[in-house]
């Protein structure tokens, strides 16, 4: 039986990574990710996790060390946030294109300047196109569950791709809340040992990440794209298997009270919980409104999104990141593009808010929805509206 404990989410990540019997952790501490790697370093030092903990000198080195470890067939974990993820940037592409199944927790954090250690999705959106599978989570339980799933998905022979599990900095990383920690036997039943097909071996040398001249580069990139899209099947199968063992179910797109809703709100990450509370209140007032939660960011769940929002009149999208000088929120922009060729589709209203750790309260979400409905009627001369900014 799983154990229900009051535990900080970052510490719970350390506990569950320990249960996966990870071989190598290479990481550099950065707020708000620090407690994750701090706890893992302690578990390794105390002998509770038999892993190589490599305290590197930067995030660029952290992920580079992870690449080497994963290429040697080691189960590999790291974590970072904000500027740290940015410093890893060029190495992120190498992990995905060399098919190295690294699992990384990202405690989402805003980007400088001005210096902000607080949470938003700017870091995640900046690495959107790096070829990683990316999962967003809304509470501690989802973080722990999806860290487990991430290993299984990443290491699957039909996938072999790195996976990021996004958790909102502070809003999730630093919260003590009740979490069901799995039994070791359940983890063992769910997660087979890592069996990387072509591990580095001095006795059988291979070249990895070689030159890709013009005659082959396009084909390699196309193969990478096909593989990432195809990973959807494995992700769905993994979540199904997780449900069978742990009785908790995950989907690429999740709907909350959205049946027959004329107006839908779409969120990602921990703010979805506050949004659900706001939806409950608005439903109580007789408003016909529901919530769509986007869990799987890459591969993007086109079909699931289309069918989830098809019957609504208005779709209000909240982004916690800003595409400067562009279409506003990256999520809204992708949803627009996914729906543009559909015959039946809702009007889309885009808000950017919750930047740099600013809360959006329950009444804030109600206000956003009301303003969104107004914009859907009157139209707006702007691509998006910033939410809650002082003039």
């Amino acid at each position: 039986m799983a154990k229900r404990v009051g535990i900080e989410v970052s510490v719970a990540i350390g506990e569950v990574v320990t249960m996966t019997n990870t071989d190598v952790i290479a990481a550099y501490p950065i707020t708000p990710q620090t407690h994750i790697v701090e706890h893992l370093a302690k578990l390794v030092a105390d002998g509770e996790l038999d892993a190589e903990y490599i305290p590197v000198e930067s995030e660029h080195s952290a992920l580079s060390a992870c690449l080497g470890a994963a290429a040697a067939g080691a189960r590999t974990f790291t974590a970072t946030a904000g500027q740290g993820l940015e410093l890893m940037h060029e190495v992120l592409y190498i992990a995905s294109s060399m098919q190295l199944p690294v699992v990384m927790a990202v405690a989402n954090r805003a980007l400088s300047a001005p210096l902000s250690v607080w949470g938003d999705h700017s870091d995640a959106m900046a690495v959107r196109d790096t070829g990683w599978i990316q999962i967003f989570t809304e509470n501690g339980q989802e973080v722990v569950d999806n860290i487990l799933c991430a290993f299984r998905i990443a290491e699957d022979r039909g996938v072999l791709l790195p996976v990021m599990v996004h958790l909102d900095g502070f809003h999730l990383s630093h919260v003590i809340e009740p979490i069901l920690l799995p039994e070791q036997s359940e983890v063992d039943a769910f997660l087979p040992p890592n069996d990387y097909p072509l591990p580095l071996d001095p006795a059988k040398p291979v070249t990895m990440g070689d030159f890709g001249p013009p005659f082959i580069y396009t084909e390699v990139k196309w193969a990478q794209e096909v593989n990432l899209r195809k990973s959807m099947e494995t992700i769905l199968k993994c979540w199904g298997e997780f449900d069978r063992i742990f009785k908790r179910c995950y989907h690429p797109v999740e709907c909350y009270r959205s049946e027959d809703a004329e107006v839908l709100l779409l969120t990602m990450g921990s703010f979805s919980e506050t949004a659900m509370t706001a939806i409950d209140q608005m439903r109580q007032q007789g408003k016909n409104i529901g919530l769509i939660k986007l869990r799987l960011w890459r591969p993007f769940p086109f079909d699931e999104i289309r069918s989830a929002v098809r019957d609504a009149e208005v779709l209000i999208v909240l982004d916690r990141a800003l595409s400067f000088g562009g279409p506003g929120g990256p999520v809204a922009s992708e949803i627009r593009s996914a729906l543009y060729n559909e015959d039946k589709r809702p009007k889309i209203v885009s808000f950017v808010g919750g930047l740099g750790g600013r809360d959006i309260t329950v009444s804030g979400f109600s206000e956003m929805v009301n303003r969104g409905i107004e914009i859907s009627k009157t139209g707006s001369k702007h691509e998006f509206e910033i939410f809650g900014a002082r003039e």
Binding site: R4, V5, G6, I7, T31, L115, V117, D168, F170, H171, L172, H174, V175, I176, E177, P178, S270, F271, E273, T274, M276, T277, D359, I360, T361, V362
Partner: protein
């Protein structure tokens, strides 16, 4: 507090609010506790039922009653007389005071009042049992747990309470 509540089978959520960490700077921390339902709000508490002030100097630099609900509770670490505190904060709220700095200095040997203030808080709320704190404190403080538990219990005994109205 959150871990104690969760161990009692309740739902709870505790989190800090701070900037780049440095010792001695003003910080806030929040806890929500619910007997029945999972807590589905991810935002700081702006209308608390209870406010606990760890450092009396904060009374001069922050409005500690900001958002505090009518009939709510204010727990203050202070060596001033209760009447004095009542004169300052009025009768809208339940007031509780404890000289936590002295308790912590005497029992822990340092001016760190966190566990002492939990004792004062428990005195004015039945939301978790004092016994439920023992395990989380043992886990958190290891060989220092006994001293901290003594500080909590002494604060529980010595806290002075004035009901609102």
């Amino acid at each position: 507090m959150a871990q104690a509540a969760i161990n009692e089978g309740k739902f709870a959520q505790a989190f800090p609010s701070f900037g780049p960490e440095r010792r001695g700077a003003p910080v806030q921390a929040f806890v929500r506790i619910s007997n029945k339902e999972p807590i589905r709000i991810r935002a700081e508490i702006t209308e608390p039922d209870m406010v606990v002030v760890f450092d009396p100097r904060l009374l001069h630099i922050a409005k500690v009653t900001s958002g505090l609900k009518e009939g709510g509770t204010l727990v203050i670490n202070s060596r001033r007389p209760l009447e004095d505190i009542e004169a300052e904060f009025g009768t809208n709220w339940h007031l509780a005071i404890i000289d936590a700095t002295t308790v912590a200095r005497e029992l822990l040997g340092v001016n760190i009042v966190n566990t002492t203030m939990i004792g004062a808080l428990l005195r004015v709320t039945g939301v978790v049992k004092l016994e439920s704190l023992l395990e989380p404190l043992k886990e958190r403080f290891g060989h220092l747990a006994e001293k901290n538990i003594s500080a909590m219990k002494r604060a529980y005994e010595e806290t002075l309470v004035k009901e609102s109205g």
